[in-house]
């Protein structure tokens, strides 16, 4: 960058470095990109954020879970989450659980259904309200995270969360994933696969659910009226769990 500036200073009449041939070839590549893959380009506009650019509140990530498609007994989303984030997969009270399957039974009709439960990525997150060190925070794009560098492990957020979505790491961990640092003495929860979302990918649970053929988890931008999730929540009835709390969750459920 500096070099270019210096160049124009010392040589104000000089043309830009790009010669005509190079310019033509480069622009034709750009045009070809437009022509060949309009879908890809649209995808980039929706999800791709240039590296080095901060997240903005123009985007709000969320998920829609279709309870009718979610199969009772299927655990693929939980397994995928554990693998992606390096969780042990244990279910002892001291094991971290970022996502779990909850079974619901209608006592009147006897109908049993199950749904995945995880951090609901609230717009007004109680965990953020109670955090004494501001370690629990909401990113501009709606993802609720714990900054473990400043988390003191007081666990107020664990108590405040109406969804019991947060876990505390009780013991020393080894062999964490490069993208998912985790450590003893801090609180953690579903990150909405933030490391994948930042790369323009979908969450591990949604990917696993699609792969299993259930298509029960739809991930996308709630602020984009043209996204699949926005269209879906506009056309079918969906609900927030404990909507009475007025937290405006980013994760919504359909068919419960």
């Amino acid at each position: 960058m500096n070099d270019v500036k210096l160049d124009t200073k010392t040589n104000p009449d000089s043309k830009p470095n790009l010669d005509r041939r190079e310019f033509l070839s480069k622009s034709s590549i750009g045009l070809a990109g437009l022509a060949i893959a309009p879908g890809m380009l649209l995808f980039d506009m929706a999800h791709g954020r240039p590296q080095g650019e901060a997240v903005s509140n123009k985007v709000r990530w969320g998920m829609l879970i279709d309870n009718n498609q979610c199969e009772t007994g299927c655990n693929d989303c939980v397994t995928a989450c554990n693998t992606e984030n390096g969780l042990s997969g244990g279910t002892k009270p001291t094991d971290s659980q970022w996502i779990r399957k909850v079974q619901l039974k209608d006592t009147f009709t006897g109908h049993i259904s199950s749904l995945p439960m995880m951090c609901q990525h609230c717009e007004q997150p109680p965990c953020v309200d109670v955090c004494p060190t501001q370690a629990s925070f909401k990113r501009a794009d709606g993802i609720v995270l714990v900054d473990k560098h400043i988390c003191i492990g007081c666990r107020y957020c664990v108590m405040a969360c109406p969804y019991q979505a947060r876990s505390f790491v009780h013991e020393v961990l080894t062999d964490q994933k490069t993208e998912v640092p985790r450590g003893k003495g801090t609180v953690e929860s579903c990150t909405l696969c933030v490391h994948r979302v930042d790369k323009g990918e979908t969450t591990a649970c949604a990917e696993a659910c699609t792969k299993a053929g259930h298509n029960a988890i739809l991930f996308g931008d709630l602020n984009d009226p043209d996204s699949a999730i926005s269209k879906r929540i506009r056309s079918v009835a969906s609900t927030q769990i404990r909507a009475d709390l007025g937290l405006n969750t980013g994760v919504r459920y359909e068919g419960i």
């Binding site: 080095g52 901060a54 062999d175 490069t178 450590g183």
Partner: protein, 125 residues
């Protein structure tokens, strides 16, 4: 007698030379720099400010989602993990541990972050 004086003088000069040499080259830790190569800043600068660079970038990544910066801890590990153990910890010759032991500074990063280089599927074959 003259011989003795001469010998003593030689002995002294050798001793002084050794002392000067030792002062010039203190017992710096012998580190396994892993892959090494061109660092993001001059090594001299990195020794004194790497923690500040890391801390600055960690906040931007964590709170603003700005990934892919050049000062990431993952990249430190990628270049400097030992080629034999694949880690920046584990011995007093390991890149991070070796220097931190020498400088008597506690190293907290790797209680949460992995100290091991990410092994790609191709490399592990």
């Amino acid at each position: 007698m003259k011989m003795a004086i001469r010998l003593t003088a030689i002995l002294f000069s050798v001793l002084i030379a050794t002392a000067v040499y030792a002062a010039d080259k203190p017992q710096t830790p012998h580190l396994d720099i892993g892959k090494g190569g061109q660092c993001v800043e001059e090594p001299k600068l990195m020794r004194s400010i790497h923690m500040n660079l890391l801390k600055h970038q960690r906040d931007e990544t964590m709170h603003k989602g700005m990934r892919g910066g050049k000062n990431s801890i993952a990249d430190c590990v990628e270049c400097h993990a030992s080629k034999t153990t694949n880690s920046v910890l584990g011995s007093n010759e390991a890149f991070c541990q070796g220097c931190h032991v020498y400088a008597a500074v506690k190293l907290d990063c790797f209680e949460c972050h992995t100290s091991k280089r990410k092994v790609t599927a191709e490399a592990s074959k």
